[in-house]
Amino acid sequence: MSLAEALQHGDLTRLPSRREEDWRWSDLRGLIRALPPAAPAFSGALPPGPFAARFPAERLCLVNGRGPDTIEIAAGENARLGLRLVAAGEGQGDGEGQGGGEGYVGRLRLTLGAGASLVLLQTHEALTGGYLAQTDLEIVLGPGARLERLVLVADAADAVAVTLSHVHLAEGATFVETVLTTGARRQRLETRLTHAARHSAATLSGLYRLAGRRHADLTSLIRHEAPQARTDQLVRGVVDDQARGVFQGRILVQPGADGTDSRMGHHALILSDRAEVDAKPELEIYADDVSCAHGATVGALDAEALFYARQRGLSEAEARALLSDAFLGAVLDRIVDPELEAVGRAWLEAAVSPEVGPGAETLA
């Protein structure tokens, strides 16, 4: 059951539904009444992507799922790359996501040879609305390879989008990802990561900043299958209006994965009484000598801090934005590459600022 299967077979019954445990907060079966036509190949010229100036590197594009199907970084190579995942259908949608949009499925395999290193800026861009899309990424890191990616997701408000990343870490490989999203009508950003050999390390960071009726679901499954691997996950979110944030984090420590060190944190702020956050952090441990911890909080903005800022002259909206921004900033502190960090901060500034609103399409 997946959106990709449903789109490929034109079969609604293959959509994930709320009856499936890990789709209960992101039901697609009950949401989608009809499957859209397949998106045509895009013939126009793409505008320059976001942050072209701040992150000057070669860009690869997948438009409506079409583009290269593999990226290979050879053993020992150092690379910087932009990956643009663009929805550019002809349809506009009716604003409710019912009809009008197009559907597509994209697939890409990214491999890093032994000792290779890649800094990747992955942007999800929308030049249209109402689309239904699934993108599957397979990411394979060879021994000692290192990948850091910053994923900026700016989907249309009426889009339904699923992105699934399978990440495979060989011995001593390092994977650092930071996912920033403003949500969509329904949006799932899922990472399934396997520590397949010892001494691999994963730092997973996520941030959702949702307003209006947007939804974002950050789901992850981290499998520790070998000893001495590390996972460090932190997700923070702010939801306003009638938006809904979902965090499902599962860390599975398999028998024999002794010496695993893993920690997971999810913290969310709810700014409106009609907004919602659903969270399910899970640690399942079948190995010995394991160090695991998780923390989860959901709360409101501190009323004392809000009044303090307003007493100094900030409007209520400015005060809320400032405090939310500061709360989310802890996620950006985890980005290692300085250029990516600067991009992440500029993105958040634009997403939080009340004048600009969500979406990073126009950023340079």
Partner: protein
């Protein structure tokens, strides 16, 4: 003509508990008045009601700034008109450097008044000068506001914000509590430096100590939610000798 701050028969409650009881106070421009009173008298409540903290219900009376109704305004609108509150318990703002916070506040006030924003170099120059006078290490201003600051540092940071924001009406709620004698002197000098003909200050304190350094024009005793006595600076000394009991009984 009414005084800069004119409070008449102000009554207010919080969570159904009546705290201010027909409180009246007149504070002319250029003057510094002290408000003294026992714990629980309603001093902080008065400062919160005047600055617009949510959660308080005004049940009667009025408060005006330059003749304009303060109570109808949002807290940020009061701030833009020049109301500044130095908090008894300054709030920690994690993730926001003190400099960023202060610049955001200053420019928000400028925008609200239709004035030009202050440029980054001008702002830094202003803050450097004011911080130096208050013996605040400039590097401290790069840290998140009040996070991990000592009690004295937090109070000095309040006075720094007051100096930069240059309010019309400054309300200092127990700015002296928790300060050692040196910090008290620095804070008092900071306050004295801000005395001006078009500015008024309301200095709330529990002890007479601060008033040795800040000579108030008048002293008011707040007990049981109202002003029960007013006089010159000598009233503070009398309170120090005799305690509040006599006045508490009068309320």
């Amino acid at each position: 003509m009414s005084a800069l701050l004119e409070v008449r028969d102000l009554s207010a409650r919080v969570e159904a508990k009546a705290i201010l009881d027909r409180l009246s106070l007149s504070l002319p421009a250029g003057e510094v008045h002290a408000i003294m009173g026992p714990n629980g008298a309603g001093k902080s409540t008065l400062s919160h009601v005047l600055s617009g903290k949510p959660g308080y219900e005004v049940t009667g009376g009025s408060a005006t700034l330059d003749g304009e109704d303060l109570l109808a305004l949002e807290p940020e609108a009061r701030a833009a008109r020049g109301v500044f509150l130095s908090f008894q318990y300054p709030v920690e703002i994690p993730g926001v450097p003190a400099l960023t916070f202060l610049r955001t506040a200053l420019n928000a006030q400028h925008r609200a008044r239709g004035e030009a924003e202050v440029s980054a170099p001008d702002f830094l120059k202003l803050v450097r000068a004011r911080a130096g006078a208050l013996k605040i290490d400039f590097d401290m201003l790069k840290r998140p506001l009040n996070v991990g600051f000592s009690g004295g540092e937090k109070k000095r940071m309040e006075i720094l914000q007051m100096a930069v924001l240059a309010p019309r009406l400054a309300i200092l709620d127990e700015t002296d509590s928790g300060l050692d004698i040196d910090a008290l002197r620095i804070v008092a000098e900071g306050v004295n430096a801000l005395r001006a003909p078009d500015r008024a200050m309301l200095v709330i304190t529990h002890y007479q100590r601060l008033l040795d350094h800040i000579r108030p024009d008048r002293v008011h005793v707040l007990a049981g939610g109202r002003i029960v006595a007013s006089g010159g600076p000598e009233l503070a000394l009398q309170l120090e000798r005799e305690g509040y009991d006599k006045f508490a009984a009068a309320a």
